[in-house]
């Protein structure tokens, strides 16, 4: 995507105080400036600060006017949340490639009202508050952010459960809602995607659970049963689906052939889009497989009926007992604009062995059909053999048990661990006393002494070659078992032959349709679900229905289908990262409570019980929080400005500029680089940025308190030169982030003195001790500020701190061991809060930005000033200038001056270019 053909006079990289100042100076000189900032707001580190030395002005008061001036300036184009991919120097200008990350909020629409933040259920560490408090995942970066626009912290990923769901359901979202007790909201989130939560909560094979990161630990989160809970909750609360009035009817008509999960889901979404929908069902009730063949003990029919109400309440019409055989006729007679064929796979594959025609061999679909009363199917006193190892086979076997069969035996080709049926289904069948003959192929059905028998033989190997099974048997291993009833459950196919003149069919009977759009060769006909995919599952079929609805809607609007993508899934989060990041504890899942075997095989009632609220909480709290945004859509639903947009993606820009100003600032030394100081180990050892947040007017705490226990500290220590003037830093603790830093960071003495003065105001009774090597109060008014702090009673000790550890007698309090330089003695002192005055490290990201020329660094990895004394902004690349702390530690006034200087030198450079 190319932004525009405008050539900027200068691109400024970094929107901290130096970047803003450079941009403003250039813009005031009438140059066109592009300011690229990585963060969500301009302001840099300065906007995080409490007050600034030596004048003790509030930092916000100083920097917000500059921020708004920058944001408003007609000559400055702001690009936030953007990262530089490469800067290429051409002969006369620069090519700058950068990526703007999605915020999932439309900036023009967002008013910063914070409602999304109010409803967002998730909290993460608040970086603005130096991780001392939390913030929501949907959030305004900070009160004074400019622009004040929310961000949904959806990283470039979806949680694995969301990513895995073929129906596009968002388990990660509803788990979060469920654990907050927002069951109704959870249900509504589910209903955004698939209208069959009741059925899925009982009978879904839950691929999400296989994907669950916790499945690599003890066991996955019980997503299905959480869903079952909230759908039961909702259905109890709303026994009748509340009527929905669809506004903006389109006047378009769609016929749907088949009312299984695919047909129902498609009808639902199409109706929501305002189209008139009518479903045609051959059976006497709606629901397809849900109604017809899934056994009641797995899926009670009242649940199916209630699910279907979700669709019918939208005004979807239907006709049952109607078998459609001519699509064209249907379209013409009904004046339909489009037809969705979702007839499912309801025909069972026939057994092709000797004796298969015998009357004792039943059709599995007919056997399971709810349209035949159980009494008629009664198997009292009969021996039943079921052929096949899939889920249908389990349904058949377990139904047979419930119908009173004496003995039920399954004969299947696969070994136990290769069976297609879900493991828990097989286990439950075994519990219910179903016998299993694995790795066996049936060879014939015959009658002996008037009794039917099935003969089968052991299989030594079996594989598919060109789609056909190739079976090697063990000769002489034949076995015969008596079987009053033989029910093959060896596969299902669509009953599509009636459409063979109208649609292209595959050999297995499935209807050919475009894989992306589900459109068939007849543009107005779409096909999805099992009739397109072959026998699958409820959620897969429903997913196809949803997809079909999406593209049918586009078709009805006359749009080019290929231009659209259904859903807003992102790649799955990296589980290893999740596991390495998270400090998880071992938590077994809530034990599944099935009715006792003896009891449950007596009837067709639900064998599983619904979670209690407590169990939902326990279960949902096992979620490992794989991703940040949970896609629970609470923000989306509440935003009064319709500003939230989950379909946003990264945008790539390619712009030209005549010059570049590097104002990438600095990084703070990560205190973990000095493990002997106990940061991370002792919560009351904090760094100076954290203290600045604690004393800021916008602080997250009600006063200066210890983060370890909220105590009001009365004896605070500062350890200066943490990570500065130090060539003995351990690198292994911080992944190379902190390195030896022989130079002085220039700002730490002064900000520590500033904090000490502010602390004396906030905590008048507190003692403050500053451990220092030299006090470097060198700027205008700084020495006076230092002297003032001494006269206020700040205690200065020239000492090198060796170690900080917790007071065993008084946990939370700390003991500082230090060398008193004035006496040479090793001493110890007690404090109840220790502040590490961390130093300034180079921001090394800048080196990777330049692609065809090397931006030289100095010995300390700051951007090298090639003529520091005379032309302080020049770098090793002609046309690239540096300002602020990118070239070395600087306080705010020095950064501002260096930015003004850079602006002047850029202007000079540009005027030379013109000649």
């Amino acid at each position: 995507m190319s932004q525009n053909d405008k050539i900027y006079d200068a691109v400024v990289i970094g929107g901290g105080i130096a970047g803003q100042e450079a941009a403003l100076n250039l813009a005031d000189m009438n140059y066109q400036v592009l300011l690229i900032e990585k963060g969500l707001s301009i302001g840099g580190k300065m906007i995080q600060l409490s007050k600034v030395f030596p004048t003790l002005d509030c930092a916000a008061c100083i920097t917000t006017p500059k921020m708004s001036e920058t944001a408003r300036h007609p000559n400055i184009t702001l690009m936030l949340n953007s990262e530089i991919d490469g800067i290429n120097k051409n002969e006369k200008d620069f090519q700058i490639n950068f990526t703007k990350n999605p915020r999932y909020v439309i900036p023009e629409a967002c008013t910063g009202c914070q409602m999304c933040e109010v409803v967002c259920p998730e909290i993460r560490l608040d970086e603005y508050n130096a991780n001392l408090a939390g913030r929501k995942v949907a959030y305004i970066p900070f009160t004074l952010a400019n622009p004040r626009i929310a961000r949904i912290e959806r990283l470039d990923e979806s949680a694995p459960c969301i990513n895995e769901c073929p129906g596009g359901v968002k388990p990660y979202g509803y788990i979060s809602l469920a654990r907050n007790g927002q069951y109704e909201e959870a249900m509504k989130l589910h209903l955004e995607d698939i209208p069959l939560p009741g059925s899925l909560g009982r009978a879904c094979f839950a691929p999400c659970q296989n994907a669950c990161t916790r499945s690599s630990l003890e066991a996955p989160v019980d997503i299905r049963r959480i869903k079952r809970f909230f759908s039961d909750y909702y259905y109890e609360k709303y026994p009748e689906a509340p009527a929905v009035n669809i506004e903006n009817k389109t006047g378009k008509k769609v016929a749907i052939i088949g009312s299984g999960p695919a047909g129902l889901t498609a009808a639902y979404h199409l109706a929501l889009k305002g189209h008139s929908v009518k479903m045609y069902e051959a059976a006497e009730e709606l629901g397809g497989m849900l109604w017809l063949t899934i056994p009641k003990y797995r899926l009670p029919k009242d649940v199916v009926r209630r699910d279907i109400q979700n669709i019918l309440s939208l005004g979807v019409e239907f006709e049952v007992n109607t078998k459609i055989t001519d699509i064209k006729k249907l379209k013409e007679e009904g004046n339909y604009d489009s037809v969705f064929v979702a007839i499912g796979a309801g025909e069972s594959s026939k057994l092709k062995i000797e004796g298969a025609e015998l009357t004792q061999v039943l059709d599995c679909m007919e056997f399971l059909s709810n349209e035949i009363p159980d009494e008629q199917k009664s198997l009292k006193g009969k021996k039943v053999v079921v052929i096949g190892g899939g889920n249908v086979s389990m349904d058949v076997s377990r139904t047979a048990i419930r119908l009173g069969a004496d003995e039920v035996t399954i004969v299947c080709l696969e070994k136990r661990d290769e069976m297609l049926a879900l493991d828990f289904e097989v286990n439950e069948a075994l519990e219910e006393n179903v016998k299993l003959h694995n790795a066996s192929v049936s060879t014939k059905v015959f009658t002996k002494n008037d009794k039917p028998y099935l003969e089968f033989i052991s299989v030594s190997s079996f594989k598919f070659v060109d789609g056909k099974p190739e079976i090697k048997t063990v000769s002489g291993s034949e076995k015969q078992i008596q079987a009053d009833v033989i029910i093959p459950a060896i596969g299902l196919r669509p009953a599509s032959s009636v459409f063979q003149n109208e649609l292209e069919l595959k050999r297995n009977g499935t209807i050919v349709a475009d894989e992306k759009t589900l459109q068939t060769s007849m543009p107005y006909i779409f096909s999805g679900g099992d009739s397109h995919k072959g026998a699958s599952s409820i959620i897969e079929a429903a997913g196809e229905g949803r997809k079909a609805a999406f593209y049918i809607d586009k078709y009805l609007n006359g749009e080019n289908l290929m231009e659209f993508e259904d859903g807003d899934k992102l790649p799955a989060s990296d589980k290893t990262k999740v596991l390495s990041k998270k400090d998880y504890t071992f938590q077994l899942p809530v034990e599944q409570k099935l009715r006792p075997v003896g009891e449950r095989i007596q009837d067709f009632n639900d064998i599983e019980s619904t979670f209690t609220e407590e169990e939902v909480l326990k279960s949902s709290e096992r979620c490992l929080d794989c991703s940040n945004c949970r896609e629970c859509h609470q923000c989306l639903n509440i935003c009064p400005a319709f500003a939230i947009d989950f379909s946003q993606r990264k945008e790539i820009f390619d712009v030209k500029a005549k010059s570049v100003v590097v104002t990438t600032g600095f990084k703070l030394f990560p205190p973990s680089g000095k493990p002997e100081y106990g940061y991370n180990k002792y919560p009351n050892v904090i760094d100076s940025m954290q203290m600045d947040r604690l004393i800021a007017p916008t602080r997250p705490y009600n006063n200066v308190l210890r983060p370890g226990d909220g105590k009001t500290p009365d004896n605070i220590a500062y350890v200066l030169c943490t990570g500065s003037r130090d060539s003995a830093i351990e690198n292994h603790n911080c992944a190379g982030e902190c390195e030896n830093n022989p130079i002085c960071s220039q700002i730490c003495c002064m900000y520590s003195i500033k904090q000490a003065q502010l602390l004396m105001g906030a905590l008048p009774m507190a003692d403050i001790t500053i451990y220092y090597l030299d006090i470097r109060a060198f700027g205008k008014g700084y020495e006076e500020f230092f002297q003032q702090s001494k006269s206020m009673g700040v205690n200065f000790i020239k000492g090198k701190v060796a170690k900080i550890h917790e007071n065993e007698n008084k946990p939370g309090d700390l003991i500082i061991r230090y060398e008193d330089i004035t006496t040479g003695q090793l001493k110890e002192a007690k404090h109840d809060l220790v502040v590490l005055s961390v130093g300034v490290l180079p921001n090394k990201e800048v080196t990777q930005m330049f692609t065809n020329k090397k931006l030289e660094l100095d010995d300390y990895n700051f951007v090298k000033q090639i003529n520091e004394l005379v032309s302080p902004s020049l770098t090793s690349i002609d046309g690239v200038f540096v300002a602020g702390a990118a070239s070395g530690p600087k306080d705010i006034p020095d950064s501002i001056l260096s930015a003004g200087c850079a602006a002047s030198e850029v202007a000079g450079y540009l005027s030379k270019l013109e000649i």
């Binding site: 608040d126 408090a133 008014g781 700084y782 004394l869 006034p893 602006a903 030198e905």
Partner: protein, 732 residues
């Protein structure tokens, strides 16, 4: 009086409307006189609403608008733009802040918040009904700049100013350019030679046709204001004829045998009566010291074509749109006896030492003695908690250490002692300190209260010092040379400059900027900027940065030939004014002057200079001066509006409001928040109590309670008896 006012009251989502009954207020204001439109809107700032406002203004011919929403800091410009787009003068727009000043602080008293909001809006409405249409003040400016001081800061700025097409006058008090850096042979951090930098810069300056350099200049008089300053300067003569043969002048200089004190070499050399500061000094034209050369009659006769001892000062008037002051600093001159200066012959200052090193290429010799032991005493004339110069000169530590490294490299057998208070080699200069320590320099720390004493002992200086690094052990050092590391002080003529340009001087006697961060190179006099070390101690790089920063500001100021200023300035009612001068006295910007009007003397406000600060208005005994947009009638009408009794539907408000409406507050997620809430609902609790009851560690409870505090869900309510922990309660 405005008669067609439009009022917009913003819900701000629920930020305002959750507490303030914006609908009711909107309805009530509709009835007020002069109000044509009064609406409550979900988001006043939303693009759709802005468009609607433009439409309303045009359709209903509105003559003023009021928006009651958030702080003007956020959206003043937004709505000014709306007015402009609709063809309404933006000064006829008033923003009323009913969020930060009303709904937020009074969320616990929604009814009172509504009443206050009503009052604030009425005040705004009354004010706007008296508003005037004012246009920005446009001033034509001259694209020329006067740069005062031709040190590195001045020359660098002159170059960048000239590059953008400004006419630049670079004036220098001395006869030669370059300032202090020409005196240094080895500049720290880069090792560059100051003289080379000066030569290169001067060459660059001379390559610009639009820079005129004047040396030997004094500023006589400055008048005018931003855009149009007039500066009278006096150029002192060099007493060399304009058409003199340059070769002959040089010859004369060579043959001259009269020597006088050499200020440039700080007493380590003498200069001739026809001199240049140093052979390469620029401009490449010597100066004659008239009093001294008078003795050399023969020489004068021989080179009669060269000299004109009767030359007079030349007076010149310059005009400039802006002025950059870059007059630099003076080195602190120790008093006689200060650390033995002038009383002990082995005591010299650091600048003197640097001259001495440069002029002694063959060895480090002082007063004929070889120097082996050098003691540097730091912070001389600086960091005097009781003295005049309380500040730190920021560059002297590095300068001294740099010199110490240099002598060690240059000469054998040197021992250097550094008697310091704090070594302030900030930033990368720390490396100098490290290098010096590694080469064996000895660092001794003294305290200001017990400074070192310097006495003469034979041919050497005896330095007595209490070393604070060895438990205040008293040390006695014998040094061949004691170098006083002197700091920077403001220039001796800074008072003169300050008076001429009317720029203020700080307590440190350096020139003062308006604000070190907001306006670091600007002075209270618009158009007069400061750069380099005249503002305070700076090293070379820092000086250049500040002067180029000032150059950038000047370039921006002068770029278009005009300056557009806000119309919010003071204005005088000539019929009331009696010229008592009180307003002129208090004006910090010197914007008020006396003029004759209609036969009497009155005050006149210089529009270009006035900042609208308003200090003059209350001072005037005759009420003759007022500030546009803040006139008495506007302010009084606001007070009237706010004081007006509000017949707010009190009953209705009390009975029906608030309870019914679900106020959107932060949801109680996650689970732990719910648990915390449950516990503090009945009784307030401290963090340790919560931690114990929930069986969660105190740091995690702190994290959550504080997050809830941040989101205004909990409230600190008193402290425990030991005053260690706060109690927290649920905030409604």
């Amino acid at each position: 009086m405005k008669e067609r006012i439009g009022i917009y009251i913003c819900h701000c989502g629920g930020n305002i409307s959750d507490y303030v009954d914006v609908e009711e207020i909107g309805k009530m204001l509709k009835e007020e006189d002069g109000v044509v439109i009064s609406k409550d809107v979900m988001f006043a700032c939303a693009d759709s609403n802005q468009k609607q406002m433009v439409q309303d203004i045009v359709d209903n011919k509105l003559d003023a608008i009021v928006v009651a929403s958030c702080s003007p800091k956020l959206h003043l410009h937004t709505f000014k733009n709306v007015a402009e787009r609709a063809g309404l003068n933006p000064t006829n727009y008033v923003q009323v802040n009913i969020r930060e000043q009303c709904s937020w602080p009074h969320s616990d008293q929604p009814r009172e918040a509504s009443v206050k909001a009503m009052g604030l809006i009425r005040a705004g409405m009354n004010r706007v009904s008296h508003s005037e249409s004012l246009d920005n003040i446009e001033i034509t400016v001259k694209k020329s700049v006067l740069v005062v001081g031709a040190g590195i800061a001045g020359m660098k700025a002159a170059i960048d100013l000239a590059r953008l097409g400004n006419e630049v006058y670079l004036i220098e008090k001395d006869y030669f350019v370059g300032g202090h850096i020409a005196q240094s042979d080895n500049l720290f951090m880069s090792g560059q030679k100051g003289k080379e930098i000066v030569s290169n810069l001067y060459k660059e300056v001379k390559s610009f046709k639009n820079i005129t350099v004047f040396t030997g200049v004094e500023v006589e008089k400055v008048t005018g204001s931003v855009g149009n300053f007039a500066i009278d300067i006096k150029i002192k003569p060099r007493f060399i004829k304009q058409k003199a043969d340059f070769e002959l002048v040089k010859k004369a200089m060579e043959e001259c045998n009269t020597f006088v004190e050499d200020e440039f070499n700080l007493g380590f050399a003498k200069r001739k009566a026809i001199y240049k500061n140093y052979p390469e000094a620029l401009p490449d034209l010597p100066v004659v010291i008239v009093d001294a050369i008078k003795e050399e009659k023969a020489l004068l006769e021989k080179y009669a074509t060269c000299f004109d001892l009767n030359q007079k000062d030349e007076l010149l008037s310059l005009t400039a749109g802006a002025i950059l002051i870059a007059t630099g600093y003076d080195s602190y001159q120790p008093a006689e006896g200060e650390y033995g200066y002038k009383t002990v012959p082995n005591v010299i200052t650091l600048p003197e030492f640097n001259r001495m090193i440069e002029l002694n290429p063959n060895g480090l010799i002082h007063n004929g003695n070889k120097v082996k032991k050098v003691a540097f005493i730091y912070c001389v004339g600086n960091r005097q908690t009781k003295g005049d110069n309380k500040y730190c000169s920021r560059q002297c530590c590095s300068a001294a250490i740099n010199t110490s490294i240099q002598i060690k490299e240059k000469y054998e057998d040197i021992t250097a002692f550094h008697l310091f208070r704090d070594v302030r080699t900030y930033g990368k200069q720390e490396i100098l300190y490290e290098k010096s320590s590694k080469q064996g320099d000895i660092y001794i720390r003294f305290d200001e209260k017990e400074p070192p004493k310097v006495e003469l002992q034979g041919k050497k200086a005896l330095v007595k010092v209490k070393d604070y690094l060895t438990a205040k052990k008293e040390l006695e050092l014998e040094a061949d040379l004691v170098v006083l590391v002197t700091g920077m002080v403001s220039r001796s003529d800074s008072k003169h400059i300050s008076e001429k340009f009317k720029i203020p001087i700080g307590t440190d006697k350096f020139f003062n900027e308006i604000h070190p961060k907001l306006k670091p190179v600007e002075t209270v006099i618009r158009g007069v900027l400061i750069g380099g070390s005249c503002q305070g101690p700076k090293n070379i790089s820092e000086s250049v940065q500040s002067s180029l920063s000032a150059a950038a500001k000047i370039n921006a100021l002068l770029k278009s030939g005009t300056i557009s200023l806000d119309p919010i300035i003071a204005r005088v009612d000539n019929s009331l004014c009696t010229w008592c001068g009180k307003c002129a006295e208090v004006c910090e910007y010197d914007a008020v002057s006396e003029v004759e009007f209609d036969g009497k003397q009155v005050a006149q406000v210089n529009k270009a200079v006035c900042t609208g600060c308003g200090i003059c208005a209350p001072i005037c005994p005759y009420n003759a001066i007022e500030i546009a947009q803040f006139t008495d009638i506007e302010i009084e009408s606001m007070i009237d509006g706010f004081m007006q009794k509000i017949e707010f539907n009190v009953k209705a408000a009390e009975e029906e409001k608030v309870e019914e409406k679900e106020v959107l507050t932060m949801k109680e997620f996650p689970q732990i928040w719910k648990n915390i809430f449950k516990l503090i609902e009945e009784n307030k609790k401290t963090i340790p109590q919560l931690a114990e009851e929930l069986n969660v560690s105190t740091d995690i409870i702190t994290y959550h309670v504080m997050t809830m505090n941040k989101y205004s869900m909990v409230l600190a309510d008193g402290m425990d008896t030991k005053e260690e922990y706060y109690y927290y309660t649920k905030k409604n």
